[in-house]
Subunit: 229 residues, 6 copies
């Protein structure tokens, strides 16, 4: 079946296990992405609208068309507590698809925040509300409500494939998508990675070199590295 069915609102989304989501919410995007084998990251043009913005929840997906935010009203009704709205667009567009009124509606219906491969507006108000948004642009330009997209179908957002119900984690380093079925496994691998880093941090802070701690000297020599005075 085709990827982006248009004119469809899919119900009965299976969301990732809440316990796994909760564990992932305490971890950083860089750690999770690394633990997953460096897949699932959105393009680095996706930036938080204020420093320190942080999101972790299950994806409610939307497919929009350039300059048209009709489907954002449709997705509001489909939200469950702990959802993150993930909005893709059928072609690149920097228009301001979402502002403070929609964010108010999202929050009232259980939405935690927004990840949008497009623009947003009312940035000052969204910041005051501490409603986390990760977007490709900020623009005052509003949109129309005239073309059908879809809700809760798989979408490609900023280069990453997102299925409804996947876990979305976003912080100052970017946005990562954890497939719903892999959430517990990703949390476990990330926690192991983080635990492992604490010891390394202490040793590096004491002046030990990565060259020694990671035993790189032999490989570097074998690769031909030469020290020249």
């Amino acid at each position: 079946m085709s990827l982006n069915q248009l004119g469809i609102v899919k119900r009965g989304v299976v969301r990732a296990d809440p316990a796994a989501v909760e564990r992932l919410s305490r971890l950083g995007v860089a750690t999770i992405h690394e633990a997953m084998g460096r897949v699932g990251l959105m393009k680095p043009y996706m930036r938080p609208i204020y420093p320190g913005a942080h999101l972790c929840g299950t994806a409610a997906t939307v497919l929009l068309h350039p300059g048209d935010n009709w489907m954002l009203h449709v997705v509001a009704e489909e939200l469950r507590d702990g959802d993150v709205i993930v909005a893709a667009c059928s072609a690149d567009s920097d228009d301001g698809f979402c502002g403070e009124l929609l964010a108010t509606s999202f929050r009232a219906r259980g939405g935690l925040g927004l990840v949008i491969d497009g623009g947003v507006r009312d940035v000052k108000d969204l910041t005051a509300m501490q409603f986390p948004v990760f977007a490709r642009a900020i623009s005052a330009k509003g949109t129309v409500k005239s073309t059908l997209g879809s809700v809760n179908v798989p979408v490609v957002c900023a280069g990453a494939l997102v299925h409804p119900g996947d876990v979305i984690v976003a912080d100052d380093d970017g946005v990562v998508v954890v497939p719903a079925a892999s959430a517990a496994q990703a949390a476990e691998a990330s926690e192991a990675r983080e635990a492992n880093e604490a010891g390394k941090r202490t040793r590096l802070a004491a002046g030990e070199l990565g060259l020694d701690m990671y035993r790189m000297r032999e490989a570097l020599e074998k690769a031909g590295l030469k020290y020249i005075d």
Copy 2:
């Protein structure tokens, strides 16, 4: 007559009505832009040099050439209290056309801030001065003073046409140009829009859906939207 006459300083600029400017200063860029029918917005690459920067005043326009800020000294003499310097460039340039010394001069002559389709520098000092600047780039690269541009002629700045005397409003969402003759009308339409939004905000915050509030369900069904379990 041609648009960008070179080597000219136009005097006798008719500025927008101060009462309308004052009303616009209490409104957001997104609201004004929407109320005007979504025209007059500069491209979204125009960003404030510090969060929360805000500007509302009448345009004193300048046409610069790449790497040359001579005309910024000429426009300083033409400023009236409440003017915003709007600087266009005859070709794209990220050079730092303006720094803290020029900003000091602008402020001393009545200038409120700067909107420039080019680069600025001394960002730390400009922030400390709380001198609002909206620019396409930040760059330490200085400029020469050798080629004539013009002052107070119509210019195209970041994709928007600006006549001297027009109202310029800029905040975290971008920069909008309100034609001088439309200032009162734009203020009125924006205020109406804002008044209208307060009620909506309350209803949305209480969990009412935009689908119902804006009566979208019938149109969506007519367009063919399907709910699938």
Copy 3:
């Protein structure tokens, strides 16, 4: 000999005179760049990861390959107190080459900060550490450790040539490279420029025009500037 020798760690770097570095550390990038005759500035896409980040030190250079940060571990061993790591890349890459662990190691070995023509990650931690980084991108995407680059060879970083031992000054306005042998001379010229600006600032703040202070009126008239009522 070729510019970017691969697989080499050069030792015995002659660093710029500490006294000159110290003088440069009290000056702004825009002033220094201007005083040097407008050369040595990196491209304006190099931005600090937090507002107010500031760096002044001697360059320890690294040449990386896209997606590979092996050499950052090698350079850590070569650092001396007051060094700034300057990382170039053999092709454009936004990957996150450096995070908080490497920064901890750099700081423990005397490194003051990082200038990288590539991406960084762990931005929240780096900000909390107040470890200044100037980079082309922020990305959670990690890197491998498999290809040799070089350390302390001349590199082209964000369009500027950097020799090991050169002085690197970076602030909100960008990053400037001062050749080691010119450090004292650049400091002197910059200090003179800054001293000269204090008087100008006072006069401009009092409302005097640049047109008069810099005696531009005659040149403007000669160039053909016309005032039209």
Copy 4:
């Protein structure tokens, strides 16, 4: 299961029906994309390396890492007659992943051409060979062979999701992905669309207006369009 499994070569790919592929090969990308409901198009930065390049075949997918083309050698063995190599990259990279030698190998093994979200080189030779390539960049920069990606797993290439076996059609207008199971349906809808256009072309060439042919006048009037003398 996760999207981009690393270190995997999937065999037993089910390719789209050859008859449907053949029908699609006689249709243009714009027509197919339109007939599919405007989904499945790669970003417009994907351009042919020579005018008139044209491709239609079944996708053999590859996931690469920046600066590493090892997997392109692995995919060569997996090709079947009529395959198009579709190469995604785990982070943006303009390096020249593929040149004339690899293209020679691809062709010898049944490959029709290459679609790559990265750079290519040997453009003159590839053009002489008339080996169609659609790429984001042209760059002489070569790559290493040191990190595992995957072959014939689903990938996101230039913003579009591609499953192995999907039909890839590319011409001067861009690159479109037709899901394998929808190939016959897409061919049928496209052919109908094209048949329909022939009649329109004749009428428009004779001077009839789209306003009349598509009966737009009423809708425009209802939307409020005003003719002003």
Copy 5:
């Protein structure tokens, strides 16, 4: 009055003098732009869809919205022989607003070609028709017909202000706008410039230096140029 009135089709456009248009059609964009004092040029991202494309005619302007080409059907009816359609967009959009069917209609109604600050498609057919198009992008992505823009109002296209009836000249070097009232004057200045260049070309081809022909040596010496052996 505001710049971009929406929902309006302006009739009774005064077009530039045909004799002046004819003279301008024999001149290059670089020459005309230079002769006009370096104003009126569109941004350099506007490129011909095939090498050698050339256009000279009077502007029929259209204001579009992202992803919506409704107004292109409206403008078709307003064309007069020798018109060039100039399409601006209310926000950046790379969608394919125009293809071969619309071009057929434009040509049948007297249109010479298209200048669009957006995308086009059917590039192969448009090239075969030798219908000159200058655009910011090529994209197979089609558009809807649902939002009103305007026809024959002043627009800002790729950074340049265009009034209906202005002369548009486009060739491999870019697109220049000549205000209708200045057309004869621009033609005259351009012809003079071109006549003047013929003599220079002969002298330069014979090995004479620009330094001598333009008498630059004294000015260079005065500016401080030093020759070092």
Copy 6:
């Protein structure tokens, strides 16, 4: 001494050995770049103004300022037969610094072509003359002649360091800089590489896999590659 001395024309440039230049002229940029260890390549935004443009000669360098081409007239006098003009700019600029008149002068004085990190114009004439130009942009916008740059000093052009006298090779794949002292060595390594490729091409064309020819299977297995049915 500083890198980009301003206001200087350096004479007595030592050019690369003509025999080595001649050998390099018969080799491709990708081959040379590879043979040099993947260093010395300009950024991939540098593109030929017509397909098939090819250049090989010794660098005569120029440092320009944005919007100012004065120094291009100065460098004309310094050319020797077989020189390639390499023009860097002190800040990014897309203006058309060079057109057909200057190219005529360059050719008359022995210049083979132009590599410029800026824009060019008169593209149609330059193509007719078959004067090879590699540039970052095409723009009709002309420039002034008012600020001193330098001639035959080391410059950074499109990210690569170029010393006067270095060999510049440019073709459809990009532009590579070969240091004068390494020219013979680079030619030799490139020729060896090319000789080596002929045999590979034959084997690959016969259907042999790179996996076998380069003996990659063991390394891939060791890295963990898994084949899944």
